[in-house]
Symmetry: C2
Amino acid sequence: MTATSTKTSPPEPRRRRKNNPESVRADILAVATREFSEKGLSGARIDEIAEQTRASKRMIYYYFSDKETLYLHTLEAAYQKVRLQEAELDLDHLPPLEALSRLVRFTFCHHAKNPDFIRLVMIENIHHGRFLAQSKLIQSLNAGVIDALTNVYLRGVEEGCFREGLDPRELHWLISALSFFNVSNQHTFSRIFDWQQAAPENQRKLEEHVTDMVLRYVRPDEVTPQP
Amino acid sequence: MTATSTKTSPPEPRRRRKNNPESVRADILAVATREFSEKGLSGARIDEIAEQTRASKRMIYYYFSDKETLYLHTLEAAYQKVRLQEAELDLDHLPPLEALSRLVRFTFCHHAKNPDFIRLVMIENIHHGRFLAQSKLIQSLNAGVIDALTNVYLRGVEEGCFREGLDPRELHWLISALSFFNVSNQHTFSRIFDWQQAAPENQRKLEEHVTDMVLRYVRPDEVTPQP
DNA sequence: TTAACAATGTACGAAATGGTACGTTCAGTC
DNA sequence: GACTGAACGTACCATTTCGTACATTGTTAA
């Protein structure tokens, strides 16, 4: 876009460049997120990212030294964003059953609303988690999730509404699996089984199933509660 | 060019081996499977595949016209292989509970033993299932899974060991989700939560959890069946 | 045998792609 | 205003990568 309108306006012919490092950086990161999550690390093109940015390709290498570093920053930013949203969940003031139910629904919906994040995690798994392993940041971010779930679970066991002997980490695994798969495999599943999985009514049904499944799983075995 | 010469064709049209077409084709496909599942469609390199083959790059283009077609054939071959293994499952002679339990365990173990297939499906989802959509073959292959599960489920409902009102397709979705996630997200999950998910004892535990979860899910609600 | 076609090897081209050299402009400090 | 380092633009390079032209060998039918 050569806006050098060399008109006969002597005082102000050219557009002034305004330095704005933070904004440029954020812009690049946003575009990179779109591109990487859409096409993967090897599929995304630096030139393509540059084109969609208000900055130039030179700027990408200026702020992020190379393609892989840019990808790593993208991944970190995505995890950070997720963490921020999760932090808003306040489960401790709810009774265990409701708290767990809410956590499951939140996870399910959150994943569904953030396909970019899911895709980045898929892509990272394709790369054997090699970049995530480099990131101290991400490692530190995710401890909180397990803690929150552990609290809820322990309270539930104490109150007798959850059965004993479950591992919160494994419980989290189950919740994640169902919520993640809902996004990650939507395309193949829909196509193979000719089922519009993304349709709102089906999403609502799946949310119910998933929540129901988790709650039934933690429910105490019936012990014939007759005295 | 099909020589349909209705001349004095002998009753025995014996086919003699040519150079080595079938073997070369199979070799290419095997290497392509490794490469695509490891690096994705855009990450895999035709030259790299050629190098690992006994054939040359020219042969890849001879048998499979271009990269994307080769990828599609890879995907189809992978689904076909899975289908063959699934067909060995014979559930109809088992009581419903055992049949379902066996189906879940089979799915879980099968996925765990075929990471290449899982990765290809992940990659295909990254591509929005665009190639799978082109394949009439794959579409036709996967109907059987639902049928088998439907039979088991209906028998179970009839015998009273499963609750009513569940959709076999959704049940399959749940089983798939848990089994798939176990492979697809192993790297990120292990790294984030510092948990050796691939370790045999953890795999055994997860298999139990997953089976248990599905069985608890289909179990009839307690209706206080007092005599 | 020989024509015809299938199967295969070698070398190369054109475009894409990650990354850089080098110069220019901005903004704060003295 | 002069200086300086950070912020930015343009043009370019070296390599990679998909794909092909062309030559050659094997195989079968007549």
